[in-house]
Symmetry: C2
């Protein structure tokens, strides 16, 4: 095994920054290094690059550039969305209730927890079905006169299930409630036209779409009441102050532009690889099951549960054979917790601990799939024989 | 003038990312691109780089690596410091009062404003003297039994005045109050040994020390009560969640290491250039004055007030002649406001509007100084004759 190249199957956790993006960022380190806020030529050059990046993304999302805020991460974008609208609602006395789901990423879940426990907002977590999907009708039923915001992720990071955000957006609009979606996993895989989907706030992360780490984006629809949860200068119209990361903004825009250009073809390719992987795993490994929705799932995520083993052991054994994968929510995978998402989907404990996410990406090949399919049955069998 | 190279004299606003830093970050785009949180070889390689960067900075600050948190900017570090300790105090019922000064950067001032107006904390802003310096005795007098935090910048961004943070740290320790300092301008110019100075929280920005934009650092002394104002996964021990910007952390560490290595010599060089600039300006331009402290000032900041002109006009004229400078607080220089810092120092309005900051840096030469000294008297005279 040692001679074979490593197989990276954790693209949902992070992706490499591709050469075109590295190249696009290059002028903004030493040459066009000005503070985009400065009133001189160095500042203007930086500001021009920043606004060009903003426009590129506005074209992709079909929104106005002023509606876009560059942040430090997808997590931060989610935080700004939830906290900014919650603080504004408190200031304006417009309500105290937030609706979300039981399978949100920690960036949303931990934030609504604090908004609930610390800031006394009322939180309703709408459950999901066995496929990890929330129903727009359930969202509608959870909305109350004092509801200020609905937050539902566009696609789940762990099982890849795509949520009916178009219909949830309609429900929110009908009820006059703001709609936030964490689109960190969906960006580059699904079309995200914010106006069509009635989305008021949308969070994206650069490094999931082959851009740099440390750069996020938040779409905030114009006239959305917003009190900045991070304060300082007037950068990003005061919504995310601090000297703007111009290179990062250019990197995000470049990465997103590439991802959108190749999206349809690349998703078709990945979907075929993903389905090959799923079919092989399910047919060769006893007591295995697919987690998440059978068809309404991201093109790049194959997620499984294997009865009676520990996902963490599985990831360690795969790593020893040169395959990088993850179990549970990748962003908190340092914690030896059972998957909260699978639990929320009603998957029994003896299956839920044996979760595995194999997420494919731009550099995944058929050979990679074949090798993983060849390795996995033995590894699962060995783990079962040891336990 | 058009043929001459541009002269950048706005290093206090931002500095170029130097080639050694760009080079140090390079492996972390495409090659060692893993999520430092992942449990496989790509993750471990990223985590190793991250922890090496953290250790490098811990050595500089004489602290423990776990006390360091990588953030998205200096502004964000200040926000985390103030909000994190304020929320913890609220949770623990330990007090409701924050002491700061009248000349803080917007990252601190706007945050204490919101903590005061929105979250009902009590804020005391201790005034400064004509040199922009706060007295430790005044800080001591402002501390009350319910004071939780004192926030005083290490050096002012606009006039370069260095604050007596060693003695303020002693005062805070004597009173059992946390001490935060915004060291964004001081880093790389002053030694910052957090333990010696009794500093509990210290904020730094990478791009001011020739590192990348979009990366900040917050030192949080162990056992400092802290409720994270941004929530999500457990990265950075939950104090700043979100996938860590590994390249950025490596960039910050590399930049800071270089800055510390050359600090003493480079500051000596800059101080000589700065004093040459100050002496020439004051002797050749009538109705000009130095702002800030005559001797206790950052080695790289020369700041002036010229009676009866507008600083913004001055910056525009300088820009037309190829000199990049700033007026007022550089980070909010898009706003046509009179300098709040000069106002707080008691400088009369007719002087305060005519503020100019010339901040020198690693690529500033004697020729640059000579050219600016040659240009400035005529420009000031022209502006005066027009008004």
């Amino acid at each position: 095994m040692g001679k074979q190249p490593n197989i990276y199957m954790d693209y949902a956790s992070t992706a490499p920054t591709v050469p075109q993006v590295v190249e696009a960022m290059a002028p903004y380190w030493e040459h066009t290094f000005g503070n985009s806020d400065s009133q001189h030529r160095f500042g203007r050059d930086a500001a021009n690059a920043l606004e060009k990046a903003r426009s590129t993304i506005a074209d992709i999302l079909s929104c106005h550039p002023v509606e876009l805020v560059f942040t430090g991460s997808g997590t931060e974008s989610d935080n700004l969305a939830l906290r900014g609208t919650a603080l504004a609602a408190r200031q304006n006395g417009t309500g105290n209730h937030i609706v979300t789901t039981t399978i949100e990423h920690r960036a949303v879940e931990a934030t609504v927890e604090q908004l609930g426990d610390f800031f006394q907002f009322d939180i309703t977590r709408v459950p999901v079905n066995e496929f990890g999907q929330v129903s727009p009708e359930d969202i509608a039923r959870a909305i109350r006169p004092d509801t200020i915001l609905v937050s539902v992720m566009a696609a789940n990071n762990e099982v890849g299930t795509v949520q009916p955000i178009f219909r949830i957006g309609q429900v929110c609009r009908q009820h006059g409630v703001l709609f936030h979606t964490d689109a960190v996993q969906a960006a580059g895989k699904l079309p995200l036209e914010v106006a069509d989907c009635n989305i008021d706030l949308l969070a994206i992360s650069a490094h999931k779409i082959y851009g740099p780490k440390g750069v996020g984006l938040l779409y905030i629809r114009r006239r959305t009441p917003f009190v900045p949860p991070i304060t300082g200068g007037h950068q990003e119209r005061g919504r995310y102050p601090g000297t703007v990361n111009v290179a990062g903004a250019v990197g995000l825009a470049t990465a997103y532009e590439i991802a959108e250009t190749i999206r349809v073809d690349e998703c078709r390719r990945l979907r075929a690889l993903r389905d090959q992987l799923i079919q092989n795993v399910l047919s060769t490994i006893p007591d295995s099951r697919l987690t998440g929705h059978p068809s309404q799932r991201l093109c790049n995520i194959a997620s499984f549960a294997f009865r009676g083993i520990e996902g963490e052991d599985l990831v360690v054994r795969l790593d020893q054979t040169g395959v990088s994968a993850s179990t549970g929510a990748a962003c908190s995978s340092g914690e030896p917790e059972a998957s909260a998402v699978l639990d929320a989907m009603g998957i029994p404990q003896e299956w839920g601990t044996g979760s595995l996410r194999l997420s494919l990406g731009r550099f995944t090949t058929e050979d990679d799939i074949a090798r993983v399919v060849g390795l996995l049955p033995d590894i699962v069998a060995q783990l079962r024989s040891h336990s």
